[in-house]
């Protein structure tokens, strides 16, 4: 199958035809433990890339480093051609690279709609002096509220509009966080386990929504353990283990890669757990 993503041969850290995010030699050690050790990574623009790997592989740490929430020991990376190393997290977000968190960070004692409004960028009412004069920001406020309502409807949170975010269930908070990230109309959205805790009925519509993002030209990078989701929506898969990129490629190809099966998926990746007897699993270990 011809691929329209990688330039040249497909191997860990391979060059892409049109990368939006390029990272080089990014390392982060905690004590003596090298949590992240990425020699080279390119994320293709306008595609959905999944980042998978076992627990402790460094996926979330890599997210934190790339978005400025943590400082690497070495490394440089650029987003849409702009150098990003050492840039503060709020500035990273303003450049169009917005993330969500594995442990959801809903603003509990703000209403759902206020959570959404806070996601908008370049709001004049958020500056101290302009906030004093309502006519300077009321138009923008109405615009973002309309946009927020559309997103809330799509994420099925419109009934919760006036509730405190604290009153939402875990899955709903996850949805709120994702919807809030989209309020900024990012170029690249980085989702850390977007499906964890979301009920299956909603998963389908979320998947459709993530695909919709791609159609609007947004690049998506997500960490996920749910292999069905990875297979279903991603154009490209990057596999991490022990801080390194161990494989990448198209989903179907990567998941047949013996290194990936060894490191992460396990021998029973394709079997429903219900049909596997305990003994078989133990033997597999």
């Amino acid at each position: 199958m011809a691929n329209d993503i990688a330039k040249g041969s497909i191997e860990p850290g391979c060059a892409k035809i049109d990368p939006i995010l390029v990272a080089d030699n990014v390392t982060r050690t905690f004590g003596g433990n090298k949590a992240v050790d990425v020699a080279h990574l390119e994320i293709p623009r306008g595609k959905i890339t999944a980042l998978i790997g076992p627990n402790g592989a460094g996926k979330t740490t890599l997210f934190n480093l790339l978005t400025g929430f943590d400082k690497p020991n070495t490394g440089s990376w650029s987003f849409a051609g702009k150098d990003l190393a050492g840039v503060a997290p709020n500035k990273v977000a303003r450049m169009g690279m917005v993330r969500t968190f594995q442990l959801t960070k809903a603003l509990s004692l703000l209403t759902v709609i206020d959570n959404m409004r806070l996601g908008a960028q370049n709001h004049p009412g958020e500056s101290f002096l302009k906030s004093l004069i309502k006519p300077l920001w009321i138009k923008q406020e109405q615009e973002i509220t309309e946009r927020a309502d559309v997103l809330l409807k799509r994420f099925k949170l419109d009934a919760k509009r006036e509730d405190f975010a604290a009153a939402l269930s875990g899955g709903q908070r996850k949805l709120l966080e994702m919807a809030r990230a989209l309020m900024s109309e990012p170029k690249l959205v980085m989702l850390d386990e977007p499906m964890a805790g979301v009920n299956p009925a909603l998963t389908q519509s979320l998947l459709e929504h993530i695909k919709g993002l791609k159609e609007n030209g947004t690049t998506v990078l997500f960490v996920e353990h749910d292999m069905h989701m990875v297979r279903h929506i991603s154009d490209w898969v990057v596999v991490m283990a022990e801080g390194k990129i161990v494989a990448e490629g198209e989903p179907d190809v990567v998941m047949k890669n013996p290194a990936v099966i060894d490191a992460y998926l396990g021998a029973h990746a394709n079997t429903d757990l219900g049909t596997v007897s305990i003994e078989t699993v133990k033997d597999g270990e």
């Binding site: 709020n90 809903a106 603003l107 009412g125 958020e126 906030s131 405190f164 990230a181 309020m183």
Partner: protein, 327 residues
């Protein structure tokens, strides 16, 4: 025991300039803690900065009343920067430790001999603020306000104090209902989330610290102008905790809370103090001294503060869910 005295004197706190001063400090803490989540346990320092700066500008520098006011505000802003730049990146509990230490440090610096010519050492500064009382348009007389005799001088200080409260409260209502206020509340809930949405969290915290600090400094100015003196002992930790009590009484994440909380607090506080001292002096409470009778309300204040935090964190006006100290 003079009953009218016991009942009337506390009522005078309804519109006293000192109440206004504490309310201003509490409004500042409401912005810091109630809206931004900054634990400022050193509000007394902002009040002290305001009071001292005003007194020094008026007496020593001769800047006049408006010049002195601007000088006091300017000094509060500088103090906020000195306090905020190193500490606002710290976690909330560390900020609490630093603010309380900085407040005590400031007070001791003012007492120190080296600054004596400026700050008056432990004596403080008195005999200033004449310009302020010269501006008084109220004819000289003793006025009867709800049965309480007030001189034109006292009336003037009270009116100006409460006008400042109203101006600051209105400013706060506008700000906290704006998208700026929304960003502050977001920071109170989760800094990193707000950062991930592209907001400059440090900048917002600094703006909040400055504005709340300026409110506190204005409180210090009103307080000091009322007595025409500044004294270092006034601005001890007591001052901060009194401001906190009336804030929590009224509701931390509200604007009306500190105002009503302040009035209720001082009326009850003075009533208890007068009652206990009256009872003591007429021999009904033989087991305590007059000194102790005056201190008991402070003990009760501490107990009230604890009970409030445990059982009614939202105060009179707050939304219970929004004011929980712990998630």
């Amino acid at each position: 025991m003079d009953l009218t005295q016991i009942l009337l004197l506390p009522l005078s706190q309804l519109f006293a300039a000192t109440t206004a001063a504490y309310v201003l400090c509490a409004l500042g803490i409401a912005l810091h803690f109630g809206y931004t989540g900054l634990l400022n346990f050193g509000q007394a320092a902002f009040a002290a900065v305001g009071g001292y700066a005003f007194a020094i500008a008026d007496k020593t520098l001769g800047l006049g009343i408006f010049g002195s006011l601007l000088f006091a505000i300017g000094c509060a802003i500088v103090y906020a920067f000195i306090l905020g730049i190193p500490t606002l990146r710290l976690r909330a509990d560390y900020l609490a430790i630093v603010t309380i230490a900085a407040a005590e440090t400031f007070r001791f610096v003012m007492v120190s001999g080296q600054l004596g010519p400026w700050s008056g050492g432990s004596e403080g500064i008195d005999g200033w603020g004449k310009d302020f009382y010269d501006l008084n348009p109220i004819p000289s007389a003793v006025y009867n306000v709800f049965g309480i005799p007030l001189t034109e001088r006292q009336l003037w200080a009270d009116i100006v104090g409460w006008v400042v409260v109203v101006i600051c409260a209105l400013l706060m209502v506008v700000l906290t209902r704006s998208p700026w206020g929304r960003a502050l509340k977001g920071i109170r809930e989760d800094e990193d989330a707000v950062r991930s949405l592209g907001k400059n969290v440090f900048g917002y915290k600094m703006q909040s610290l400055i504005l709340g600090g300026v409110f506190g400094a204005l409180g210090g100015v009103v307080f000091s102008l009322n007595s025409q003196t500044v004294q270092p002992t006034v601005f001890g930790t007591n001052f901060t905790f009194m401001s906190w009590t009336l804030l929590l009484l009224g509701g931390a994440a509200t604007v009306l809370g500190p105002i009503v909380g302040g009035i209720v607090f001082f009326v009850i506080f003075l009533f208890l103090q007068n009652l206990l001292m009256g009872l003591q002096s007429s021999g009904i409470l033989p087991f305590i001294s007059g000194e102790q009778a005056a201190q008991i309300p402070f003990v009760l204040m501490g107990i009230t503060l604890m009970l409030l935090v445990i059982f009614r964190p939202q105060g009179f006006f707050g939304n219970k869910k929004e004011s929980q100290i712990n998630g």
